[in-house]
Amino acid sequence: MTDAKKQQDKKLSEAEAIERAKQGDAAAFEALYNLHKRRVYSLCLRMTANTAAAEDLTQEAFLQLFRKIGTFRGESAFSTWLHRMAVNVVLMQLRKKGLPIVPLEENIETEEESPRKEPGADDPRLAGSIDRMQLQRSIAALPPGYRMIFLLHDVEGYEHNEIAEIVGCSIGNSKSQLHKARMKLREILKTSRAEKATKP
């Protein structure tokens, strides 16, 4: 079976599951959950860095989705709709906890924007030396606002127009935040590598 056909089947089964879920079919709810649980949970986990909190948020996001599934008309992709809810649930939680969130529409001039202030600029390239754990830790160290855009674009693979819809910001702002997030990550990774190298 070709990838296109598989994709088509997946879409069909998702569309059918949505219709069945609207009728109260338990297995349809479960099928939708199984289709999207990993991505939603991973997003929540990386935003909170806490498994219990991530599970609570995943549960809340899916419950909100299922409560409103009767209103889903398919104007946007189901996954986009779900991610928008997950993002809202996560942001709400972060606000409740008083964690700082970089304002999405605010253009903050940060030091990483300055080309002459890059720590480790003389180091060799990062390419080929980024391991998974190091990357996960560095992502966790990003400010939540940057982290959210970065996760949606570089991890989840959403386009800027979709992110703008999910998060509720402009496309330009999404691009700008993503660039800042990548630059910040580069800085964190290089610093981390430099610290590792100086350890006896």
């Binding site: 297995a27 599970e55 419950l63 299922f66 390419a127 980024i130 998974r132 990357l135 660039h179 580069r186």
Partner: protein, 218 residues
């Protein structure tokens, strides 16, 4: 093009670059290193997609909430079973039996600890046993308990004789659940959901053991 000009347009760049930008990258190691690093970060990050899995309790909690809120409706007579994973649905529901029974046992223990009286306790205990044994009467006769289970029941009986029947019923139910989950997982070893339910079943049994042993401690 200068480095400053290049970095100014960098956030807007996708995977491709203009001729002018390409020329700059060829001659500027700082900017070409920067682009290489950002691309490497992006590539590695994509590998993290959906790499984490929530515990099975998340779906269980969602399902319970959906049922409580009336969003899940039981199919009416005459309508077929659900279209998705039809073979799983029947045995999947068995998951709820030991879970509910274990909760009721826990409730029974709590009531007992609070000294609500034997009559009331017997009433609480008789309900889960009744529910579970009703299910067991329809279950496979080959549903037997192993040596460890019998030893556990003896331990429970020696400490709290009144709880033995409830634990026996729970063990039988969870054993039946494990057997069904094993059959389903064996029939399709690549079925991740079946494997997950099998793990749930073992976790459920571990929970019954944990509760029984905790209760039986001096």
């Amino acid at each position: 093009m200068t480095c400053e000009e290049f970095e100014r347009v960098l956030p807007e760049l996708g995977s491709g670059h203009s001729m002018e930008q390409e020329e700059h990258l060829k001659t500027c190691s700082t900017c070409s290193d920067l682009v290489a690093d950002l691309n490497a970060i992006s590539r590695q990050s994509r590998l993290l997609q959906g790499s984490e899995e929530p515990s099975p309790w998340v779906w269980n909690s969602i399902e319970v909430a959906l049922r409580q809120e009336g969003l899940i409706r039981e199919p009416q007579q005459g309508q077929g079973q659900s279209f998705i994973h039809p073979p799983r649905l029947s045995w999947k529901l068995r998951w709820l039996v030991p879970a509910a029974a274990a909760l009721l046992v826990a409730f029974g223990v709590l009531m007992h600890q609070r000294g609500t009286g034997r009559a009331q306790l017997a009433d609480q205990q008789s309900r889960p046993v009744g529910v579970v044994t009703a299910d067991l009467q329809h279950s496979n006769p080959a549903d037997v308990m192993g040596g460890d289970d019998l030893q556990l029941l003896e331990t429970v009986a020696s400490r709290t004789p009144s709880m033995r029947a409830a634990y026996e019923a729970n063990l039988r139910a969870v054993n039946a659940y494990i057997r069904d989950a094993e059959q389903s997982a064996n029939s399709d070893p690549n079925d991740e959901v079946a494997q997950q339910y099998l793990r749930n079943a073992y976790e459920q049994k571990a929970m019954v053991y944990e509760m029984a042993l905790d209760r039986s401690l001096p």
